[in-house]
Symmetry: C2
Subunit: 208 residues, 2 copies
């Protein structure tokens, strides 16, 4: 068995969604043992968006069955689409692969921009039609190496609404997607079991 | 594939190690999306102790290879040993099983006492000799359904020192161990990738 880590390191210097706060890590040295008091938003670093993040009627992470977070994954290279939309026409080339997968990982090459302001701009984004088209498959989740399924300047987050309404979870801020083959691995993103959680930082991995 | 969740829910009412703080979960409703600001110690709920938790020279969680957190598990029933030590003689009956495993899960039946004060007292604890004996195997980790590898009143935490010095991680506050067979599953406890972490809450699971 081989395991590939797809998660960003969590520290006080990471990129966070505009308007939210960076994590705070406070070292605590208590009588011979070391701990950290960590304060962070549920959408810190590599993390899941649950339906409830956007939809008041949506289920929280702790309400979803645990097998929602593990399944066969595929990677689609979208690097040529910087600043553009990921369209149905583009995705249709991979229709058979998507039909066989439970997790679709979109590799935009954007993790290379992590910790730069360029991370927030011009990443490829699904068109509304493409987001709707993807809900026709049996996908459990869509993973990104960028910060959002919608542009950062989006007000109403339409792609989030479309996929979360179908209980397709979103995994944002993945990294290391270049090290994966196009298919042939199990993707895992087991969230912390936070009560009534709209999201959770995760240690996302691919298992071969 | 079947997945069994072995993790306690994280909320503000959970048991925490005496002298530490319960998590604080603050709902944040920002412009149409829901988040939680969570403040918690790295040793909250179901969590890992890394060597650095106790040993200044020990490695942190983010320094350990990712395959340290996945491997074949076994469960040993220790329910008859409430208030007593888990001795080498007791464990020797399972010597062959332990030799084949990477994670040893000790089922004391203690998760039934979660959220009661009785959780802190009289759980079975490895004798010093048993802790040392277990370091002879190829174990990656030892998992417990109680709050510590040493009694809560322990000052110098000798069992923690013995196993962490050999880079055997400790998984504390597991639950649902009764639902597992004695062997035949992969145990997983992938931690958050917190920089320089002495520990991390985890979503521990068994995968069949």
């Amino acid at each position: 068995m081989k395991i590939t880590d797809l998660s960003h390191l969590i520290n006080e210097d990471i990129m966070v969604y505009p308007g939210t706060e960076r994590p705070v890590l406070q070292d605590i040295d208590i009588d011979g043992y070391q701990e950290i008091r960590i304060t962070m938003f549920t959408h810190t670093a590599t993390h899941i968006d649950a339906p409830y993040h956007i939809l008041k009627h949506g289920r929280t992470l702790d309400e979803l069955p645990i097998d929602k977070f593990i399944g066969p994954g595929i990677v689609i290279d979208c690097k040529a689409l910087a600043g553009k939309e990921i369209t149905v026409d583009f995705l249709k080339k991979y229709e058979n692969e998507i039909a066989d997968a439970e997790f679709l990982l979109l590799n935009a090459g954007w993790s290379l921009k992590w910790k730069t302001e360029a991370y927030f701009d011009d990443f490829p984004v699904l068109s509304l039609d493409a987001a709707k088209w993807l809900t026709n498959f049996k996908l459990k989740g869509i993973g990104l190496d960028s910060i959002s399924l919608d542009p950062v300047h989006s007000i109403d987050l339409p792609n989030h609404h479309i996929v979360l309404d179908k209980e397709i979870i979103i995994i944002e801020n993945l990294t290391n997607l270049d090290s994966l083959p196009a298919s042939g691995f199990m993707f895992q993103c087991l969230p912390l079991k936070i009560e009534h959680a709209d999201g959770s930082p995760v240690r996302a991995v691919a298992v071969f």
